[in-house]
């Protein structure tokens, strides 16, 4: 539990603040309660003392006059107050001579008793004591309430031993003791109530403070920190388009913004590395060089070739000049290829509404279709978002598909349905690996072997002394691999790069499904792709694509109720020069379409049934 605790900063903060709150408030409450109690008791003590003094003062005169009856009455009257437990006077022998409780009168009090202990404890009676030592708190019975007693010694004075009754001798310092006992029941009750209140208050404060702290720590620390943590994982997995949401204006918020800026700069830098900017400046550089070089090269080439012509009857010179001309022409080719490389033939893509293009294509073809009295059904999603594509190329695609659909329908009776919709798809079965590299940078994708029309990923498998090739399906999750090699013992099989032989095995990796060994290769700009080595397992993981999650696609389809395409012909339909139209078709329309869709990072697929019809599905990613 502590291990788990130590990994969550939010929890740690909440716990430490909670503990601190409990300690401080606890200590405070404790001292509060005690101080209150002490105050109350001191008050009672003072009051008891005052009472005692009052009793002494009120009975002094009567004692001087030895008016015993009157003293009894006074003591009884005073003692009748319900708050006063007992008022009694003890003589110097310890005998109770007066008391508000009749039953106590005449009794002897033991010197060891709590009432006497304060002064008589040392064995010898003490003469003067401060008030705090003359106070005692005790219980009459174990079950009864507490009581506070105050001992007030009655000190002698001249008129006492001078009096006519001769009750006291001159030597006696202390004539007797006035003992007033007050019940603490009320006080205790009040203390209890007060302590209870303080305790309740303390607990509430602790709870409320903890809740508030927990809430704000969670909001200001935990949530933003986790958002940032998620973001770093995403970016680490290759998804550079991920942005952290706005996390406020404080330090963490700034951290988030700074993180986003960093990611953006990273992706820009990466883009620059792979795309237009670098190419454009390369292009400009190349163009500049070419322009400068071309003029002097013209001089050399023109004169050189001219000389070559003129020296036809001088073989030696002619041969030498041939070299000059040949190499100058070679220089020309080098400059030309440099320029061709830097040249960008950019498809003119822009953010547009694809439904509009579909409508336009229909308009182009419509008279042709309607001439056949075909029914045209449109299922266009009006909420379709705009996507980036080349409108002219897409129009070419639709016109082509529509013409094909019309051609497929014999006898002029049928329906052509064209639809557009928005889809959310997980990358499995969709994401297409277009480039795969071994650790040394060799390209594993090969056009020599195509799986369903797309170049596959070729790796070499070695086991024992044998080796052979395995062609992997470049569509993530589709797994229609082609095995030219069967390992005798899969545990000893090694997957390596066909070019350099470097191992593609992941040393400390394990398949998440079967625990077997795994191999991996890099997909440039999109992290690593891992797969289980066991043929029957088939586990794959492409973190960058997975973490990007489900992606949105626009799906466009053209369906017809025509004659359909046979199962044998279906897999070959996008091949150049493959045609089902005999003499009429060139077999190239679908190959061109395939190229256009591929250039838009989309996919095109076909389903068909003889006699029923055909449907072409195009999927274009949203960004």
């Amino acid at each position: 539990m502590f291990a788990r605790l130590s990994t969550k900063i939010g929890l740690k903060l909440i716990v430490i603040v909670g503990v601190t709150t409990i300690i401080t408030i606890g200590v405070y409450a404790y001292f509060n309660i005690h101080s209150q109690r002490d105050n109350l008791l001191a008050e009672v003590e003072r009051h008891a003392m005052q009472l005692s003094e009052t009793v002494r003062n009120s009975t002094r005169y009567d004692m001087l006059l030895n008016q015993r009856e009157r003293i009894h009455i006074i003591i009884n009257d005073i003692g009748s107050d319900p708050a006063i437990d007992e008022v009694r006077v003890l003589n110097k022998e310890g005998k109770i001579i007066y008391s508000s409780r009749k039953e106590s009168i005449g009794r002897m009090v033991d010197k060891q008793a709590e009432s006497c202990y304060g002064c008589h404890a040392a064995g010898k009676p003490l003469e003067k004591l401060p008030i705090s030592q003359r106070t005692r708190i005790f219980r009459i019975d174990p079950d009864s309430a507490r009581a506070l007693g105050v001992i007030n010694p009655i000190y002698t004075e001249r008129s006492c031993w001078d009096a006519a009754c001769h009750a006291h001798s001159k030597q006696q310092q202390v004539l007797g003791v006035l003992d007033v006992t007050i019940s603490l029941a009320d006080v205790d009750e009040r203390i209890r109530a007060s302590a209870f209140q303080v305790a309740i208050f303390a607990i509430s404060v602790i709870l409320v403070a903890s809740l508030i702290i927990a809430f704000f720590v969670n909001r200001w620390v935990s949530v933003p920190v986790h958002a940032l943590l998620d973001a770093t994982k995403q970016v680490g997995g290759g998804n550079l388009g991920y942005t952290v949401p706005d996390l406020g204006k404080d330090d963490i918020g700034m951290l988030a913004q700074s993180f986003n800026t960093m990611t953006m700069k990273l992706s820009e830098a990466r883009l620059q590395l792979f795309q237009s900017d670098k190419m454009a400046s390369l292009g400009r550089l190349a163009a500049g060089i070419a322009h400068e070089i071309n003029n002097p090269l013209t001089g050399v080439l023109t004169y050189g070739s001219f000389l070559l012509k003129r020296t036809e009857n001088n073989p030696e010179v002619h041969e030498d000049l041939k070299v000059v001309v040949r190499e100058t022409i070679r220089s020309r080719e080098i400059v030309k290829s440099l320029l061709d490389f830097a040249r960008q033939s950019i498809p003119k893509k822009s953010l547009s509404d694809i439904n509009e293009i579909i409508t336009r294509s229909l308009a182009v073809v419509e008279h042709q279709l309607s001439m056949k009295s075909l029914k045209i059904v449109r299922n266009l999603d009006p909420q379709l978002p705009k996507i980036t594509f080349d409108p002219n190329q897409m129009q070419q695609v639709f016109v082509n598909l529509l013409v094909n659909a019309a051609d497929a329908i014999e006898d002029g009776v049928g329906t052509v349905t064209i639809s557009s919709s928005l889809l959310r798809l997980s990358p499995q079965g969709i994401a297409h690996i277009k480039s795969a590299r071994c650790p040394r940078g060799h390209e594993l994708i090969t056009s020599d072997f195509k799986i369903e029309g797309i170049p596959s990923i070729r790796v070499k498998a070695r086991c024992g002394g044998d080796e052979g090739f395995i062609m992997l399906d470049p569509i993530y999750g589709r797994k229609r691999h082609h095995f030219e090699f069967e390992a005798q013992d899969e545990e000893k099989m090694e997957i390596v790069c066909p070019d350099c032989g470097i191992s593609l095995m992941v040393e400390h990796g394990k398949c998440e499904v079967c625990g077997g060994r795994i191999f991996s290769f890099a997909v440039p700009t999109q992290g690593d792709f891992e797969a289980c080595i066991r043929k029957d397992c088939g586990w794959q993981r492409w973190t960058a694509v997975d973490s990007a999650g489900q992606k949105e696609y626009v799906e466009l389809s053209v369906a017809d109720t025509g004659m359909g395409i046979s199962k044998e012909e279906l897999p070959r339909i996008f091949e150049p020069f493959f045609t089902t139209k005999g003499q009429k078709g060139t077999g190239l329309g679908l190959a061109v379409i395939w190229g256009i869709i591929d250039n838009h990072n989309g996919t095109i697929s076909v389903e068909s049934e003889i006699g029923h019809g055909t449907i072409f599905r195009i999927r274009l990613p949203l960004q």
Partner: protein, 267 residues
């Protein structure tokens, strides 16, 4: 007064002017030079040249402005553009704007000579074609009808978009006039990538001159007209249909077609 000068070369580079002059003179032609646009224009307006050879990129003015200026001044001398590879786009554009041909730099002695010879023959045939009459010679009639879907790169080559999105490429009849009679034709190999404005085939005329045919579109060659290789006379007989050169899958058709001239505009 005086003999008419055959050629005017306008280029800001001395070496280029010298090279062109050297070759033309060796071919028995007379030539004058100009080092900048202004001088060139002045000369073209005062003298009647048979042909002007002009660099696309000149200081102050570019080739287009010269074409324009010549048109405004009513000078009808045919103009050949020469251009460094970096200005191929301009060259293609130049053809659209009235230049009759262009030669990329650097060029061999033969290349410039062939171009000049073609250019000198051009005027003759161009006017004849416009008037609709037929010319003496063994060449087939000029007003070969072509459907609306044909586009041409200047007067050199044509492209036709087929329904399936593929393109057909060939040579214009006017170009063939300037190289006639054709001895043989050399084609590029299959799967080769063509670039708009660059050489895609070579015709050798019977006077042993080699003429490069510039491709009207960029794309990949997926079919060649093989029979042409053994029977080159097909070219001149039917340049727009049976005499096609290549079938290609174009790479940037929409944009590039805009650089070409539609035949519809001629009719």
């Amino acid at each position: 007064m005086g003999k008419r000068i055959d050629i005017l070369i306008i280029d800001d580079e001395q070496v280029v002017r010298d090279a062109v002059s050297r070759i033309c003179k060796a071919g028995g032609l007379t030539i004058e030079t100009a080092g900048d646009a202004r001088t060139g224009l002045a000369k073209v307006q005062t003298n009647a040249y048979r042909l002007v050879v002009c660099d696309v990129m000149l200081p102050e003015l570019d080739g287009f402005h010269i074409l324009d200026a010549m048109k405004h001044a009513g000078v009808r001398t045919p103009l050949i553009m020469i251009t460094g590879y970096s200005t191929m786009q301009n060259a293609v554009n130049a053809l659209k704007n009235g230049a009759i041909d262009f030669i990329p730099k650097p060029f061999t002695a033969d290349e410039i000579e062939s171009a000049v010879r073609r250019g000198l023959r051009y005027q003759k045939f161009a006017h004849a074609g416009a008037s609709g009459g037929s010319q003496k010679g063994d060449v087939s009639n000029f007003s070969v009808p072509c459907p609306a879907n044909y586009y041409r790169l200047g007067n050199l080559s044509w492209a036709h978009m087929e329904r399936t999105g593929t393109g057909l490429i060939g040579v214009t009849d006017l170009f063939l006039k300037t190289v006639s009679p054709v001895d043989k034709i050399e084609l590029l190999d299959m799967d080769h990538d063509l670039v708009q404005g660059t050489a895609c085939a070579t015709i050798t005329s019977q006077d042993h001159l080699s003429h490069d045919i510039l491709s009207p579109l960029s794309g990949r060659i997926i079919e060649r007209n093989e029979p042409l290789l053994s029977r080159p006379e097909t070219l001149e007989k039917d340049p727009y249909f049976v005499g096609w050169l290549y079938r290609i899958i174009p790479t940037d058709v929409t944009y590039e077609l805009k650089q070409l001239t539609s035949y519809v505009q001629d009719h």
